[in-house]
Amino acid sequence: MNYVANTQQDQAAMLHDIGAASVDALFSDVPERLRLKGLLKLPEPASEMEVMTKFRSLAGRNSSLSEYKNFMGAGSYEHFIPSAVQAVIGRSDFYTAYTPYQPEISQGTLMSIFEYQTMICNLTGMEVSNASHYDGATAFAESMIMSHNVNGRREFLVAESVNPRYMTVLKTYAAAADFIIKIIPADRHTGKLDAEFVKTNISDSTAAILVQNPSYLGVVENFSSFSEIAHKNGALFAVSANPISLGLLAPPSSYGADIVSGEGQPLGIPTSFGGPNLGFMASTQKQMRRMPGRIVGETVDKNGKKAYVLTLQAREQHIRREKASSNICSNQALCALASTVYLSYVGPYGLRDVAARCSDLAHYMAREIAKVRGFEVSFEGTAFFHEFVVKYPSSLTFDRIFDHFHEAKMLPGVSLSDFFPGEPNQMLVCATEVRTKQDIDAYVKRLGELKW
């Protein structure tokens, strides 16, 4: 970061320009009793070297994934990020720009968003994508609101096996909008959703059925019957999907999804605590006017040359205010660009290879873990992608497992004790293409060494 000087002469010049008598005069609107008297209680000044040493030691207390063999997923996934991603998004044209307020002047930004939208459509099989959302959770919640805007209904059937963090966001939005959420139970033996529950609970009050595929528990399902029953009842079918899985699995459009959203972080964005993440959302041409967020369109200028514009803007809040389709009127441009570069770089066959590698390793790992005495892989016979549930002996705690692995610089997975309060001895384990067979063998060996 650059050091910007602020000398007494600078201050005097600035005060002179704006016609203020003193710095204190700038705060004359703040009541006297609320103003700070004296100086802030800050540590004594330190030299640059002292500050560097202090901050390095603080930063050193963090752990970096590069030091660990990581088997945690649960919504944030470690994948290889080609250097091309940082090289392109690091260009100051992209890196420093805030959302364009005069968008058409930023043709490069609009073009990158247009390409992002095209790739999201290709991945999901849908017809229209918006320019992105903040994260997978908010995109999923927006698909709930969008469904209400389409058919005016207020009741939602939501899969129990949705990421609990997404569920929290969904419930927050639902409470504020007076929506009713009914939870579709997931079978404890197969991990699959209860289709009978959907049949008995769907009605002409149901706005949409919302599921995640693969689910939070890793389970992959063919949801054709869910979309059929939704459509028969005038409801929508909304899916949250892992974009990497779409390199291998049939797109949600093929099983009748009306809205597809998801977390774009696996596409070239690091796993950072607190983000930034990337939400994507796509839908049908029929419903495009109900889709929140901005959309970039391709057109021609007055000379017949290709040009990009923000299209369908009239639905957005800066024009339609309280009747806008959503409060979202910006997008996650830099992360969307990262995912665009990632997808361009790996290409459709590369993405398929990444997905297949994740799936192969995870399936190998599940088979090997199942051989360890006392450990069990849940939902036998149900399809999964790169994540699965492991049941450990009930005399063990997750903390003990975690510590045991942590000592060997491994991260064993994510505890499901909150998700399955009645049977807390379960954890979610994930393998992506950054792991190797050797990593997995070491994991399985470590698991076998646990005393219980």
């Binding site: 006017r289 009239a314 639905r315 024009i319 339609r320 009747k323």
Partner: protein
């Protein structure tokens, strides 16, 4: 510039009504289409939908903005102008004719009496402009 056909009744939200027997044809006025600019999309209600007076019945989207159209009368939607789905610009070209939006079978035809006449609407527009 704008015109105000004598045989129609008008609302303050710039809808017009033409009564034919039990039916009321509803659209937006020439003044409204002019203010909206190029209309790119008209969202129509479902046929057989019951509607109350002043309830939102259509949404008109132009290049500049999106506006709701409120029903001037209560009743049942019996016909919608399907042509507007593909050619919304008809509203700009012929607001009082081919640009009609819905036909409502009125449940309370008395409601029409409280709407503005052509002369009253003309005054209303001119006062607002001055």
């Amino acid at each position: 510039m704008s015109n105000y056909p004598e045989d129609l009744r008008y609302t303050e939200q710039h809808e017009w009504v033409r009564v034919e027997g039990k039916s009321a044809y509803v659209g937006v006025t020439d003044h409204a289409q002019h203010e909206l600019g190029d209309i790119v999309y008209v969202e129509l209600p479902s046929v057989n939908q019951m509607i109350e007076v002043s309830e939102k019945i259509c949404v008109v989207e132009s290049v500049k903005t999106v506006s709701d159209v409120y029903s001037p009368v209560s009743g049942k939607v019996i016909t919608i102008n399907i042509d507007l789905e593909d050619n919304p610009e008809i509203v700009n070209e012929d607001a009082y004719g081919e640009g009609w939006m819905v036909e409502i079978e009125m449940t309370n035809p008395e409601e029409v009496q409280s709407l503005m006449t052509a002369a009253e609407y003309k005054n209303f527009i001119e006062e607002a402009a001055s």
